[in-house]
């Protein structure tokens, strides 16, 4: 198992290195000029040229990449070419908030998906199963911003119990801080739950037909015990990978959700930086997202290995 984990870790490092290279070159070959964005449309060519020189934008891409990797290895993420602020200063506070948001959403979505999936699987073909399946399909088909605006109108405007904008996460005090997370977290959880719930339902149904389940029934075990001690753990294995893959969906969801609620996180910074062609900031965020995705998949592999003894032999 240790060898397997080490091998996966090695591949993870290679993948992250590839992500960094692709990100750097992709963001540097797009036909745009951050100097123009920084100085505005009426900046003179001399001012633009001076700015490019000052920010090192006139040097070859490969040279800048090598320098960037070198600095990265020293823990220096570079400086925003537009604001001259260190990338770490821009990213760090937002990263923390976005991680809380993402993990919080997962903490809601995963148990909810299991509850809904198991409940539906136990009632296969009945109206409650059909109703839940249709609801899951419907919610799954809604874009994130529709879910976000729907929750905003419901819990922020019609039943005004939650703040409809999330600036409290950065500038709030006391209860304002946790409350600022609620609506974006619920949005992400709602977006993530349906697909996972459907996977749980399908796997629980599949495992329920296995001989060991019939044998457990015949031995007179309680249905609840059979479900939660025998069926669900076995049905969870494929779902673990689905949860890891949901990280990608989570990233997309975070970008949109943060914009809708004005949540001061990494997604909003990414949108701004892409729009302004602030390449060092984009590189840092994309690299962090890529690393997060790789890490989640690595953890999923390890979790599956831990849950399934047959894979360890």
């Amino acid at each position: 198992m240790v060898r397997f984990v080490m091998a996966r870790l090695g591949w993870a490092v290679v993948t992250i290195a590839l992500i960094s290279g692709v990100t750097f070159f992709a963001t540097n070959v797009v036909p745009s000029d951050p100097a123009k964005v920084a100085l505005g449309k009426f900046a003179t060519p001399e001012q633009v040229a001076a700015y490019r020189l000052q920010q090192g934008l006139d040097r070859p891409v490969a040279e800048r990449y090598v320098e960037w990797v070198g600095h990265l290895a020293e823990g220096n993420w570079g400086t925003s070419v537009l604001s001259n602020i260190k990338v770490t200063q821009l990213v760090q506070p937002r990263l923390g908030r976005t991680l809380i948001l993402g993990f919080g959403a997962m903490l809601i979505a995963v148990p909810l998906a299991f509850l809904v999936g198991v409940y539906a699987a136990q009632r296969t073909g009945k109206p409650s199963d059909v109703g839940l399946s249709l609801t899951a399909l419907f919610v799954n088909s809604l874009p994130e911003f529709v879910v976000a605006l729907g929750l905003l109108m419901l819990l922020g405007v019609k039943i005004p119990i939650l703040p409809i904008e999330s600036s409290g996460a950065a500038f709030g005090s006391d209860l304002q801080v946790p409350l600022a997370y609620v609506l974006p977290m619920l949005t992400l959880a709602l977006v993530l739950t349906p697909y996972m719930a459907r996977m749980v339902r399908a796997n629980v149904r599949d495992i329920s037909s296995h001989p060991f389940v019939r044998s457990a029934v015949l031995r007179g075990l309680q249905p609840t015990r059979i479900m939660w001690r025998h069926i669900v753990p076995n049905a969870s294995l494929p779902v673990v990978n689905v949860i890891a893959l949901s990280t990608a969906e989570l990233v997309g969801g975070v970008v949109i959700t943060e914009s809708v609620f004005g949540f001061p996180g990494l997604g909003q910074l990414l949108v701004n930086s892409v729009s302004d062609k602030d390449i060092p900031v984009v590189q840092a965020i994309v690299l962090l997202i890529g690393a997060g995705y790789v890490l989640m998949n690595l953890l999923a592999d390890v979790a599956v290995l831990a849950l399934n003894p047959r894979l360890r032999t």
Partner: protein, 520 residues
């Protein structure tokens, strides 16, 4: 649109001159110090106001010379002061300058620095601080906005400080409107030697910075040593960025946010029916334009440009794009409501048949093709571009809409033949210098006309108000006749606020003046 590709702060950004200077000069060249700050605000003290914007960028900075978007510009009004303040009627009042006076030829301007004004770090303001900042702005490498305002009329050597409370500006040419230039937000006066504009900007303003996260928001707290006694009333202000406009609107309607920047016209009706929130008229009719290149064919042919103007049904344009909140206009960057707008000037009539005849006479009976540049990065541009495309199609002018990203849109300015654009209301002389003058780098219609240039120079040199109005009228009429620029309407601008806020004043530079604002 402003000089930086940002639509919202345009009025603030390029407002350079003001009629206040005219009014003041017409009374006397020696202007007595007004009682700025002597009035005692009556609102309840205390509380923190939440101010919502939707254009926050990670590029936001409290360097006044580089501030481009709403957040740092509005914030600049909280942290800093100018030598002079200016109100929405362009009236100037002394601020950090307790007194100011131009020479009889309006070529030399002397400002007396107010005694006892302290920066947030406790240092006393002197004329050297003012000189240092003006020299900073006059350095081209420190950003185009302030440089573009000052360098045409002022050299670094033209600034002298005979004593710590006096600064003298010897201009390169007469400028009756210099008083208004010093009220521009790029000429907010920070303390000398600031290098960290995010964490440690220091000014003399009514509030001090507590924290700032570019693109996210900032917090300011009351400056207890503010030179205007009794102000500000608020304990502090928290400015937050809410990119989604509908969320910002709902945040004001539900009371999460006390005051916002501009709200979209689609949400006006929501405020009409609200008992807790209302729209704020920013008292600014601003030109919405098709920037057409007058210097190239076919647009350099007056018959073609006139035909294009006559294809636009301006009333319909105003109704569809701005829900009738604005004014139909001749092709002038000065609104019809402005006292300098000539009363007898009418827009070219909507007449597609005559437009076709004009095009045929110019050799374009079968029309022509071109690209129309616009961007989703700013509101209304795409809708207006679609309107123009349909209108011109009647005369066989086939426009392909290029709706592009912000940077591509900015790159199109002064290069592409037709670009959708809008400006914010400026004093006429501002508009003339920035957008009508042949020598201006911001002349988006690329008109070069010696007669207009001569009139602008004459206008700046005279202190006779009636002469100024006459010259302004001539400039506006000639521009309407010979520039290919199309200005179908001037649109009204509205922000939003909770009704319970008191003492909120409109400021032409920073949108708001929060010094007398109270949460009651």
């Amino acid at each position: 649109m402003n000089g930086d590709g940002n639509l919202k702060p345009t009025r603030r950004e390029v407002l350079v001159y003001g009629a206040g200077a005219l009014a003041a000069l017409s009374i006397s060249p020696l202007i007595a110090a007004c009682a700025t700050g002597s009035s005692t605000p009556s609102g309840k003290k205390g509380g923190t106001l939440k101010f919502g914007v939707n254009s926050g960028k990670s590029t936001d900075t409290f360097d006044p010379a580089r501030a481009l978007t709403s957040m740092p510009i509005v914030g600049g009004g909280m942290l800093y002061d100018n030598l002079l303040d200016m109100d929405v009627n362009w009236k100037l009042t002394p601020a950090l300058a307790s007194d100011y006076s131009p020479s009889s030829d309006v070529k030399t301007w002397t400002f007396k620095i107010r005694n006892g004004v302290q920066f947030h770090n406790g240092k006393t303001l002197t004329s050297d601080d003012v000189k240092a900042w003006y020299l900073h702005v006059l350095d081209k490498s420190n950003g185009p906005s302030g440089y573009g305002i000052l360098h045409p009329i002022l050299d670094p050597s033209g600034i002298t400080t005979p004593d710590p409370t006096t600064i003298v500006f010897s201009l390169k040419e007469p400028d009756a409107f210099f008083g208004v230039k010093v009220a521009h937000y790029t000429l907010h006066i920070p303390a000398q030697g600031i290098t960290d504009w995010v964490n440690a900007p220091v000014g003399t303003g009514p509030f001090k910075l507590k924290s700032f996260q570019p693109g996210t928001g900032f917090e300011v707290v009351r400056n207890p040593n503010y030179w205007q006694s009794g102000k500000p009333l608020l304990d502090g202000i928290t400015c937050v960025n809410i990119p989604e406009q509908q969320t910002l609107v709902q945040a004001v309607l539900t009371g999460d946010v006390h005051v916002s920047t501009l709200v979209p016209s689609s949400s006006y009706a929501s405020f009409d029916g609200s008992s807790t929130a209302q729209l704020i008229d920013l008292q600014s009719y601003s030109p919405f334009t098709f920037d057409v290149d007058t210097s190239i064919k076919p647009y350099s042919d007056p018959r073609v440009s006139k035909a294009m103007k006559m294809c636009i049904d301006r009333k319909k344009f105003l109704n569809i794009i701005f829900k009738d909140r604005g004014l139909v206009s001749a092709d002038s960057l000065i609104p019809p409501s402005d006292p300098y707008y000539p009363k007898d000037l009418q827009p070219f009539p909507y007449d597609p048949e005559q437009a076709k005849s004009l095009l045929a006479a110019a050799g374009y009976a079968n029309g022509f093709k071109d690209n129309l540049w616009t961007s989703t990065a700013y509101p209304y541009l795409d809708e207006a571009a679609a309107f123009g495309k349909e209108a011109w199609a009647v005369a066989k002018l086939n426009m392909t809409i290029q709706s592009v990203s912000n940077d591509a849109y900015i790159a199109a300015f002064l290069h592409a033949p037709i670009v959708m654009d809008y400006y914010l209301r400026l004093h006429p002389v501002t508009m003339f210098e920035q957008y009508y003058a042949s020598t201006s780098d911001s002349n988006t219609t690329r008109l070069k006309d010696s007669q207009i240039d001569g009139w602008i120079k004459e206008l700046k040199a005279t202190v006779d108000v009636s002469k100024q109005q006459e010259l302004s009228g001539e400039i506006i009429k000639r521009y309407n006749d010979i520039a290919a620029e199309i200005v179908p309407v001037h649109f009204g601008q509205y922000a939003a606020r909770k009704k319970k806020i008191t003492g909120l004043k409109i400021n032409p530079m920073t949108d708001y003046d929060f010094r007398e604002t109270a949460l009651s």
